[in-house]
Amino acid sequence: MTVLYFAHARRIAAVTQEEIPVAAPLSSSNFWDLIIRRHAGMAPLRASSRLARGNDFLPPDAVIAPSDEIAIIPPVSGG
C-alpha cells in the first residue's frame, strides 16, 4: 500500500509518501490504526481528516486493498 501525506499530515509523518506492506484488505479504521502505530503524532488528525483513493474521497465503509494508493487529506483551506 502506498500512503500519500499532505499539509499537516506531511509535516507530522515527515515524508510525502511511503510504502507500507500490508498482507490483507483493510477497513478505514484498520488503516488509521496502522498509520498511528507508525506515526503517533497522526492521532489528532484521525477525526478531522478524510481518506482518498484515485482522486475520490473514500466512503466510510470502503475496503482498502494492499495495492491501493491512499491519500490522507487533512481539512482543506484553499481559495
Binding site: 500519500l4 499532505f6 499539509a7 499537516h8 506531511r10 509535516r11 482518498a52 482522486n55 475520490d56 474521497f57 491519500a71 487529506i73 487533512p74 482543506v76 483551506s77 484553499g78 481559495g79
Partner: protein, 128 residues
Amino acid sequence: MMHIEILINDTIITPPVRAAHSDVGALAEFTGFVRGEEAGRPISALVYEAYQPMAETVMRRLLTELAAAHPCNSVRVQHRIGIIRVGEAAIHIAVHAKHRAPAFALLAAFMDRLKQDVPIWKTDTFSA
C-alpha cells in the same frame, strides 16, 4: 456542455481571457488575495500546497455538478500554489454565461464547495 479549464501552478495570476462569444452576456469573476493577517497575526506571505490531480478532478466534478443547476458557458479556475505574498492573488475564477444570475450562483457555490472539498491547503505563513 460547459467548457472547464483548471490551472494549478506557481505562476502569478494574470487577468482573465475576456474573449466573448456572441451568446455570452455575463462574466462573473472572483479573485482571492492573500491578506496581511492570518489567525490574528501579521504575515508577509503564505504557502499553498495541492494534491494536484485530485484537486483538478474534484473541481471539475464540482463544476459539472453545479452547471446542471446553473447553466454557464465556461469556467476557468486558476489556483496558485507555492509562496504567495500579501496582496498577490491565490485564486481567480472566471465564469462566462448567457445571463448574470447563473454566473453569480455558480461562482458563489463553487467557492463554498472549494473550501470544503478541494485538496488544497495553506501550509505555512511567513511573519511580517
